[in-house]
Amino acid sequence: MDVTTHDVLLVGGGGAGLRAAIAVSELNPNLKIAVVSKVYPMRSHTVSAEGGAAGVIKSDDSLDEHAYDTISGGDWLCDQDAVEAFVNEAPQELLQLEHWGCPWSRQDDGHIAVRPFGGMKKMRTWFAADKTGFHMLHTLFQTTMKYNSIFRYDEWFVTKLLVDDGRVQGVVAIELMSGKIQAITAKSVILCAGGCGRVFPFTTNASIKTGDGMGLAYRAGAPLKDMEFIQYHPTGLPFTGILITEAARAEGGYLVNKDGYRYLQDYNLGTPTAKPVLRSMELGPRDRLSQAFVKEQEKGRTIDGPYGPVVHLDLRHLGEKLINAKLPFVRELCTKYQNVDPVHELIPVRPVIHYMMGGVSTDINGATPLPGLFAAGEVACVSINGANRLGSNSLPELLVFGARAGKAAAEFASSAKPISNSILAQAFDEQRRIENQFLRNTTGRERTSTIREEMQQTMETSAGIYRTESSLAAGAKTLRHLQERSDNLALDDHSLTFNTDLVAALELSFMLDVAESMVQSALQRTESRGAHQRTDFPKRNDEKFLAHSVVFRAADGRPRVEYLPVRITRWPPGERVYGQPAQKASAS
């Protein structure tokens, strides 16, 4: 078996991974860096982010306000020291990206322009039209090209973390082009493998978002944190799940039900005004808006579409000029994929799985409890997002914690002991497992896609916007069963060249692990907070649950949940208030 060796290895070439890679090479140009990614880095899912990235830059704004919005938006489940570090460093990181060439949208005088965003009290969201993630990712990727110390493994799929001597020392990966399985060793490994929206049937997430990174860490013994907090975005296109960015509402779009009524006013989100008001109505937080949709549906006030109930997003009053200038991609997506032109027509939308608040548990520098393993980006839970992430906080999170993890991993690598020799034996075992379980297995019965669909259905019914004891318990049982069935997969493809059938099977097994950890964490949190809403426990319970859940993988493969305290610095838990009252409270 081939073995290649580096100092710092990144699993993932999205926003977080590339930022971390640059951080390592700027800190110490002598370190050999490897970026392993199952797709070419510029295809990573960061490319899809539309709306923007939050960072305090205008003089009427302050770091404390950004921190407060984030913490209250996260229903006080955020670690406040992490949030403080985050809001502090976000502006510098966004400026750094500007210096690398990111085409941020500008004011007439040449300064950075900002736009309002859901749950944010001030305008602080930087944007590059409505392709913010695309421009950020391409800027980062093109910038990495100038560093000679960064070596890329494009289209390599990581299947396992190599752990020996109590620390992570590399990975086993398959080169898709040739089918070669090999060990890539490193003194420290940073997971930047993104989220796992694909465990649900209806999601804005790309096909590559299958929770591989979470699964890798979980199996290697690192715990996952706050996995029950799953964000629904209130405005996805039916069927495709394509996201209509929050920026559409920030620019003044209305959400209306079948009577053309702006129903959010019935759900404690303020009173309707013609112009958008920050932290009010359509600019409330995502969890509240998605929950309001379900209530409307129960009242029979949604519209029945071919793919289930929808409400309408109305942009018509904004006019063609503004839509073309600020929301061109929204118009393109609607006309291309939904056959409606938002300039003249209503856009049908429904809540759609969008983002994972939870992830691999890390400290403020991206270090996981497992030595040598770091994590950053959507795969990680630092946590700044608490029970509900605010729109436009994720992109700056990639940068801030990508850079932090990069620095920490570089330092770790500089002082780490050499790689153990016994690593190779583990890699051989992994190769044998893949060959025997998948490539040479001729007795399998189950289809990957069937189990995947059943898993997705199970997740939607058991762990959707509203959950109960019984739905979750049933879900947990089904998932256990699916785990067993997945040991018996039959691949159609037994070849080595670009075997996407094999990739799908490996992804499925990661997703099943992640799904189980979600359902288990949700089952045990008997309260409602942020995106986690239990109809049988509708109140927030700070006494018992002002705590992070951490899931470990027990020896039998089942999830085991423990709790960690939330770190509170300056903002004691309060009530989340949106709409006009919030405006007044903050003004005083």
């Binding site: 082009m177 040739s178 089918g179 070669k180 080595l496 060249t497």
Partner: protein
């Protein structure tokens, strides 16, 4: 890089890429390609016009008889047919040229790029004026 070399057979973990050779008749496979090739071929007829002009000047320089001979040559049905074809090609050249030049130039006024038709439009207008002017110069009594 040659495309026709036989690729070695597949061996474990060594991908064997399949390279298609571009057909010699690639330009016939799609209308867009054919249009492009016709556009390029128009230059042959441009060259033919230049040759004709040089011969004409030569004829004039050799005196009235040679010039008359040249006029007769132009009346030859084959030459006439060739010139009709040439005319269509040079007109095709003009049209494609004006359209392309609009795309090749990024003229900005007040920070906004001037749309293509505002560049090609005046070109077409100038073409008409120039043609009229030349016709008038050559044909006036």
């Amino acid at each position: 890089m040659k495309s026709s070399v036989a690729t070695p057979p597949y061996t474990l973990n060594h991908p064997r890429w399949y390279r298609k050779r571009v057909s010699t008749y690639w330009w016939l496979l799609r209308w867009e390609y054919l249009r492009f090739v016709l556009r390029e071929i128009s230059s042959v007829f441009v060259a033919w016009f230049v040759v004709l002009t040089i011969v004409q000047i030569y004829a004039v320089s050799r005196g009235p008889d040679a010039y008359a001979e040249f006029q007769d040559f132009l009346k030859n049905p084959f030459v006439l047919a060739l010139n009709v074809i040439s005319f269509f090609f040079v007109v095709f050249h003009s049209i494609t040229w004006f359209n392309l030049s609009a795309r090749a130039m990024a003229i900005r006024i007040g920070g906004k790029r001037v749309p293509g038709f505002l560049i090609s439009g005046p070109n077409f207008a100038a073409w008409l004026v120039i043609s009229a002017l030349i016709a008038w110069l050559l044909l006036r009594e």
